[in-house]
Symmetry: C2
Subunit: 301 residues, 2 copies
């Protein structure tokens, strides 16, 4: 059985947890807590343990988590097994899982990626709620992902304007005064408007970086039915006022991602007195507060 409408499920989860914070699960070999290095297990098993511990620490605080596929793939097939465990664990805990894999390809290959990630098991192999997608190859290459998302009640976040310093290179190139990210944004809005849920949002979201606050506000207006995934908060320099423009007046319409700022909190002086899982939990609490203090997410409380 497919999921119900992704945007509605996400909106309900944001309301329930009273925050749009999504926690990125990016296990890094050189930043794992010392406790996980002590035992006799391989790195992939440590990644799985770490991911599950992060989930335990934040599951009642946030609506969603975002595993980063790259860090798991870095360990080969064993890392893929670990990634599957982490996804399963998050699903069991009632969290929405946004797989950050930035996939993109043509025709039947795109269908295969969609079948890999989008929708509950066994409709997809990994059983995720949502996938990040790269639009460079063309609007036709989005179609198989969009069809799968709408069919399975899952979601997409298509890269529109990313948070990195070089994102202007292609994304801000202009034809007739319209930058590429407008072209992509308008297509995403059109796709989302095709299947709007009770929340007012569609299943086809956009990645819009917190490091470009003016573009975030501009795109929020331009894409009224599109959910945003907003990276760049915290470690990449974005503040609550930078992300504020990405949410609607009710604190909805977007997920604000923090990865390193939460999951490696035990490396920070301010959390040094806590054990590592408590440090992660406290950093999540503090991040939720910072977002509420600086954005319309305060309305969720």
């Amino acid at each position: 059985m497919p999921f119900s409408h992704f945007a509605d499920r996400l909106t309900d989860a944001v309301k329930l947890k009273k925050t749009p914070l999504i926690v990125g699960i990016d296990p890094r070999t050189n930043q794992l807590p010392a406790e996980l290095l002590d035992d006799n297990t391989g790195m992939a098993e440590r990644f799985a343990k770490f991911g599950m511990a992060v989930i335990d620490a934040v599951a009642d605080l946030v609506p969603a988590v975002k595993p980063q596929a790259a860090f798991f793939e870095q360990l080969g097939p064993a890392g893929c097994v670990a990634m599957a465990s982490v996804v399963d664990y998050a699903v069991d805990k009632g969290l929405i899982v946004v797989m950050d894999a930035k996939r993109g390809d043509i025709g039947s290959t795109a269908q295969a990626y969609a079948a890999a990630y989008l929708g509950p098991k066994p409709e997809s192999a990994w059983g995720c709620d949502c996938l990040t997608v790269n639009p460079y190859m063309g609007d036709d290459t989005l179609t198989p992902f969009v069809d799968a998302a709408n069919r399975t009640g899952s979601g997409l976040f298509v890269l529109a304007k990313t948070s990195n310093p070089g994102s202007d290179w292609i994304q801000a190139q202009c034809e007739d005064d319209q930058p590429i990210y407008h072209l992509v944004a308008d297509e995403i809005q059109r796709l989302s408007a095709d299947n709007i849920g009770k929340s007012g949002y569609g299943n086809i979201g956009a990645v819009v970086g917190a490091t470009y606050p003016e573009q975030l506000s501009e795109l929020r207006e331009r894409m009224p039915n599109t959910l945003f995934l907003i990276p760049g908060f915290g470690a990449q320099g974005g503040t609550a006022s930078d992300v504020a423009g990405g949410l609607d007046e009710n604190g909805l319409g977007g997920l604000i991602n923090s990865s390193r700022g939460v999951i490696f909190a035990y490396e920070k002086d301010q959390y040094a007195k806590l054990n590592w899982q408590d440090a992660i939990r406290q950093a999540a609490v503090d991040t939720v507060d910072r977002i509420a203090d600086g954005t319309s997410a305060s309305r969720l409380r």
Copy 2:
């Protein structure tokens, strides 16, 4: 120990096999040969068997193979295990492995993808010679891949102009009369020119589709030190004369990909009298001949 220079290894392999044909390994659940469906194994194991059988059929004929990650990922972690077996088997047979995964991400995430795929084991987890990469996120996001490629003697094929009907959507948008794919092409050429091997080519190649023959010739001139990976031949409609412009006057400088046209040859009437592995082999022989007859690859003979 890293590999030696990718472009030189590839050029030597093309000269040795006397063809620029690369065979795409795209296992599809509904197109496997009946013999593989008879036995009692799971789909992932069938994919591994199929991939290895394709390799056995073509290993002495072609310089390289290109596993398509999407089809393996579609089966979850078991599919990833199968993909690793296929890569290992191809490496053992002396073939160059281009992992077609179209990865792309920022900073340390891009580093993780590079560490996953680029370079021999244990320098990378999967031990591939080369990876396809998506440039949409920015020129800065290519740097970690480029650094890893040059450090490990592996290669990249960065998406420049792809073979699908919608590829113009972003790629042909113009600023100051220069389409995006020129912007990307010029950056790839610059990166390749930084580390040219004895072959005259660098490690940083470009994906340029066979379905746009004029652009292929234009980019061949524009990117004199850049290897091309040319998809779209055969099943996607490209002919030998369409791909001809992608090779240099010696039949070098590019790999011409065929996937479905070779690996599912047993579905075609012309090969119906052969067993499925012989059909694959004969289709590879015929494809090598078609490429030689219509391009400068004839000079390799």
